[in-house]
Amino acid sequence: MGTIAAPLVLGEEERLRPPSTDILIRHMRDYSQVGIDLVGQRQLIFIFAAALAGFYYDLRLAVTLLVMIGFSELFDLWVFRKVIRSEATDTAAAHRHLALLCIGTVISSSVIVTYAVGIAILQGPTTHFLPLFFLFAASLFAAMNNHQLLPVLFIRLAMYGTAFLFIPIRDVVITQAPIRSELWAQLFTSVFVLFFVVDCSRIYLRFYRSQILQFQALQKEHELSRAAYKAKTEFVSTMSHELRTPLTAIKASIELLDAGKLGDLPAQAKLAVGLAQKNSDRLLNLITEILDLQSVETNVMQFDIARIDILDAIRDAVTEIEPYSQRLSVDFDVSLPSEPIYVKADRKRLIQVFSNIASNASKFSPPGSTVRIRVDTDGDRVAVKFIDQGIGLTEADHRKVFDPFTQVDSSDTRKIGGAGLGMSISKRIMDALEGTISYQRNSDIGTTFFVTFPRWDAARPS
């Protein structure tokens, strides 16, 4: 069951409260499993004990007891198997099983008690080394291996304890020994040892119970966090859907107005409609980004992996961003090799990553500057570089760049626009596609963003 870090100190109420059915079934399973595991060890002990008894005291007694313990073991094993195989979870079945286990305990304990008391009687009033030590060993065995089930432990200790006391008491009674006789010393010693064995058992029991409690606490915590996670995922998914519905009505109305399909608009009305159009687009993009971020974070984003010409993807991304960059008066200088370079990726997401970096590069570049795009191959990897002339990003900015919702300079948010989600999505996409995305401050001015991939040949599965 693993190691114990620190024993839970159980209060009196907790120790004495009867366990619920689930816990009882678990205890019974544990006990039965231990019973089955130790069957070999037990038989060795019985054979050894019988051999000693047969050789030194009485062969008939030894053989009889060996046969009786044989039956007892068979009964026990049958019950253990039954308990472990059983799928029943109702209280009635559990109590039936418990009754069977207790019956088995009474039977095997009786045989062991008969053994010890039998030999003690044959010995007559004297020091009873063999029987008392065997009883002591049996009690310790019970403490170590029966602590899972309180009733069973109780029965064993009660029966062994009674025999343990009966033997020296019988001696004292038969011989009417005076208090200074060694027979009385034997009796007092028995009582003392009995207390010790009971205490031992209590401690084992406590350890075992605390382990179970700890395990249950961990399980509960796990369930809670799973539920919270699921709730969050469902919330985002539902909200995304809920937000798109009114947005549909807004965008469709605005787009029809803007396109002049619902009549001519005076100049200022056109302006207002244009503003509404632009901002409802922004809203829609934000919702899409949030959903993207959510799905890539929870590993449910689906990728359509194929052999992609990375140069093609770069050209498409630039085409997509060009109108935006033109408005910011930023140019692209794209210089690519003539031969296609293949990687294993999802084309749509790859373009999304490139567009995102290119648009960021434009956004943070001063008007009139140029963003250069280059491709380098280095052995089995290919690197796409986006070199801008804007504010140089430092190592310290790393978190701000890649964390969702933060922009490097938040005071700029309103002027530059965007929610700052793109980079964090891009990073996660690259992680999922087994590539990397990083940046470096340029020695002269600006930043270079690197997107690296293993090449198709290197990435091809064997």
Binding site: S240, H241, E242, T245, T248, A249, A252, L256, K261, L262
Partner: protein, 138 residues
């Protein structure tokens, strides 16, 4: 009756979506459209109006789009009527599930009101081609 554009039966629980769809499809797109605000209403309306195409919203209370389409198609005469789902759910998995529920196409919300009419006509024409000889009017 013009046979080159379909009579559309649209089902959506959102009033405003119906209103804006009517604008885009009828006023601007020149298509004929009958609108219902629930699956139950649609099941009543279909035998009466005899549409050529179903345009079904997916997320509806009581009877969702998939169930509505299934029931519409089980009405005699409508087993092969082409259908298009409209949905705000945008993931690839959602699309896949909808396509497997027997629709010809899936339109995501927000839709483009300038092209949605011609898109629908194209989808309807394509489905007609794969079912030659089918009577389109009772």
């Amino acid at each position: 009756m013009a046979n080159d554009t379909p009579l559309i039966l649209q089902v959506d629980d959102e009033e405003d979506i119906l209103a804006v769809s009517k604008l885009a499809l009828e006023a601007v797109g020149g298509l004929r459209i009958v609108q219902c605000s629930s699956g139950a209403e649609a099941l009543q309306s279909a035998p009466r109006e005899n549409p050529d195409l179903f345009l079904v919203d997916v997320m509806m209370p009581h009877m969702d789009g998939i169930e509505t389409l299934r029931r519409l198609r089980s009405i005699e005469g409508f087993e092969n009527t082409p259908a298009i789902f409209m949905t705000a759910k945008a993931t690839a998995q959602d699309r896949e599930i909808l396509m497997r529920s027997g629709a010809e196409a899936v339109i995501t919300k927000p839709f483009d009101p300038l092209t949605v009419a011609s898109d629908i006509v194209a989808i309807w024409a394509a489905s007609r081609q794969s079912q030659p000889g089918e009577a389109t009017e009772a």
